[in-house]
Symmetry: C2
């Protein structure tokens, strides 16, 4: 098939979700997708090393070089257009972009959130803080969600979710690790594969798998 989808992955840190995508790709599990570029918001993100080691082109677009979200978002949109992105994946990307990006890539940007949306999501819920709040609430089940990105934070159509048990002696760190291993690293590549094989239909804010 000659309809390869260009996947651009946005990163800010260690890049373990990027690694999960790279590993899935090397197992032939990204369907018609190919990771063509990694863009980092930080110059020292270890994700950049991972990209290099896998022979994937990378670019940086440093957040602190820009005065505001609007100008940063426009610059990012231009990079994504330049890279002819068919799919944009947030993989531990720590900056919320504005609607100039979402509008240019409607239902073509996905994120993995480390909780079962609508629990523990929305503005201010990212990284370890999500797990801190889950433990504070005392939930016995958490998990991860892959969803399309819309201008409203964590509110876009849900593509896949996977639940993970919370243990009594969990710290935010151990819960984060378990959710990554048991959920994020599984459902993110799976969602990318479904997208690249054009199996995802979005209707009235909900997704259906063909």
């Amino acid at each position: 098939m000659n309809n390869t989808k260009n996947i651009v992955v946005l990163v800010s840190g260690g890049g373990t979700n990027l690694q999960a995508l790279i590993d899935a790709q090397s197992r032939g599990e990204l369907g018609n997708g190919k990771i063509t570029c990694v863009v980092s918001s930080k110059a020292d993100a270890y994700a950049l090393v991972r990209a290099k080691e896998s022979g994937i082109k990378s670019r940086t677009l440093i957040r602190k070089d820009y005065d505001d979200i609007a100008s940063y978002s426009r610059a990012m949109r231009d990079i994504l257009l330049e890279e002819k992105a068919d799919l944009v994946v947030y993989a531990g990307f720590m900056t919320i972009l504005d609607e100039s990006v979402c509008d240019a890539f409607p239902n073509k940007m996905i994120n993995v959130h480390p909780a079962l949306i609508p629990s523990f999501c929305g503005k201010g819920y990212y990284g370890l803080h999500v797990h801190e709040e889950a433990l504070k609430k005392g939930v016995k089940i958490s998990g991860a969600t892959v969803h399309f990105i819309t201008a409203e934070c964590d509110a876009g159509p849900i593509i896949l979710q996977k639940s993970v048990e919370v243990m009594e002696n969990d710290t935010p760190e151990t819960l984060q690790k378990r959710i990554m291993e048991q959920a994020e690293w599984k459902i993110l590549p799976k969602a990318v594969q479904l997208f690249c094989d054009e199996k995802i239909v979005v209707e009235n804010g909900k997704t259906y798998i063909k």
Copy 2:
């Protein structure tokens, strides 16, 4: 052991969760607990038939006979004290009682909510509406939660949770049925057993199982 716990079950409708408790009891799975009384807020609740068929004492305390929640709550508290309840279980009980009841039975009242708290819970979320909202949001995972009842609706310490897959062609009714069968009817009796065997510790708003 001679420390049998009196379980009083509050109902308003069909009583399928009551039946799950009755069935667990007949299998010897309620630990040191014994269902000693069923109290219905409605005279025609089918749950009353289930109680009768199982030889369990039942009473009615009709909500519409009372002007307000406060007077109804006081009357319910008096019944629960009369019945020497060690554990009060909401099993499809459709009335929110005020703090006069919670205060008399601190960490001795439990409820099963048909979603993974903190998703789809709080005031206004009960019965089919919970599932309507879950489907509207397009979640791929829902479930059920057993929690202690505090004065704040659906906010008490979580005891057990179980996740359940949402199917693409689910209606609120089919989702409700699957969550009952796969989650509520399993975790409610289990939580009652843990309580009656004094295995649940509550600390800082969270539960731990001994």
